[in-house]
Symmetry: C2
Subunit: 246 residues, 2 copies
DNA sequence: CGACCATTTGAGCATCATCAACACTAGTGG
DNA sequence: CCACTAGTGTTGATGATGCTCAAATGGTCG
């Protein structure tokens, strides 16, 4: 159960080619990246890096999901990022990790040693440009999230999270975000609680409530059907159709 | 009481020269900026731009304070950014504002029309580089803030806000963040509440409590003395000396 | 089967929101 | 000069939302 498909994938064939930090690179630039990249895999539950540790690499999530979390001494933890395929990990110019990164599912990352990557960023505006775009998008997402954390009720928080996941799912498959949507929750109740600043009990209760009210339908604990996205977004407190920043 | 000191300041003499988006520019580049920039002033309480409005410019805060807020239809509002001198407003490549920007004090901004600025970003890597750095810093700040919103108690939230303001004050004057600190709160109780996801009553109560317990001393409503920063940071729930990302 | 984990559900309680009254200050106009 | 108003802040009483502690359920894996 360790290190599956570590064979060198060509950048040109990479599944996240058009969304990751390398999205704007031309053929020559991709070839350079091909030489300095390497893959790493992590099993579900495994830490990728711990806050404060030396960080010798940066990289992109190729497949799987990871979480970015912050913790206080007494153990309270807050998720501050949910890393999906194509998301970037690490900050050029910083040499210790600022957050905990943990693989939630089996995870494949495309890594670059920090120094060569930083060198390449200087020579390759395409990479820096793309990283700026991605960082601005993340900042928007973080600000959306701050509204959820600061001002929404528990029920609205759950509805918001489901809407966000549904939206990302849709954007990945280039589907529409209207009508019915079906997806798997790849997070535990506890991870959702850490995402939303709730306890896992409250998460469980509110999911049950949304189910009872017909806003969602569950098959098992994790497989979600949303019969009417419009209804879900109303429950989330979002105005009718705004907030499509993904 | 309108449009004070609108005389053209030379970029080279600009008070935010070394921290703003132009920080990395050389003399030639500054001269170009000198030609396309213009100043705008806003009175305290005046909106700079409203979410959804067309945004024809980007710019930097030169002096004063502005807030970035998001609101829900029913009026609940969450601050998602506190803009101090040198902070950047607007997103290159986006043509409508995503947030409300409001001047909290009298405000002077150094503006660039969006198109010329975007053109210049392409030709001038120094600007794009600096904008990336600043955006990454903002993202870190937003994530710190998410921990505050999601997991801290009301008392810890207030202590955290005071610590953040003290830290920024110190970094502006290049002072140390140890021992005693004195500063003015440039925010109303309501603005603090919107920052922290609380009500203004709770803000008021917790400030009173911190005062009663000797963590802070107040002269008037807004002038704060922190006798012992270490103590304040303990109240904020921050580990002894970490979290210095400013 | 038994151990373990994720999840659900219940009961009681603490924190913070809500509603309301009041204090203080500055500005306005009679 | 003084009432009048608007804005800001403090404080009190009450209650709802979500947390804490606790127990039970169901699924998975050895």
């Amino acid at each position: 159960m360790s290190a599956p498909q570590l064979q060198a994938v060509q950048c040109a064939d990479c599944p996240i080619r058009h969304r990751a930090v390398c999205a704007k690179c031309n053929t020559d630039e991709l070839e350079t990246l091909d030489h300095i990249k390497y893959y790493r895999t992590f099993e579900a539950g495994q830490p990728v890096i711990w806050s404060g540790d030396a960080m010798s690499f940066v990289g992109s999530v190729v497949s799987g999901i990871a979480t970015l979390t912050q913790t206080m001494e007494d153990g309270r933890t807050q998720m501050v990022g949910l890393l999906l395929p194509s998301d970037f990990v690490g900050r050029p110019g910083r040499d210790t990790a600022a957050y905990n990164v943990v693989a939630t599912t089996e995870l494949v990352m495309c890594c670059f040693r920090k120094k060569p990557f930083e060198d390449m960023m200087v020579e390759t505006p395409h990479i820096a440009q793309r990283l700026l775009e991605m960082t601005l998008d993340e900042l928007d997402a973080a600000r959306e999230w701050m509204l959820v954390l600061g001002r929404k009720t528990a029920r609205e928080k759950i509805a918001s999270l489901l809407a966000i996941i549904a939206r990302r799912e849709a954007s990945l498959h280039k589907e529409t975000v209207k009508g019915e949507m079906v997806f798997d929750l790849k997070l535990t109740r506890e991870a959702m609680a850490d995402y939303l600043g709730l306890t896992l009990e409250t998460v469980s209760r509110q999911i049950s409530a949304l189910k009872k009210d017909g806003v969602i339908v569950l098959q098992g604990k994790r497989h979600v059907t949303v019969p009417d996205m419009q209804r879900l977004m109303e429950e989330a407190g979002d105005d009718s159709d705004g907030g499509f920043l993904v």
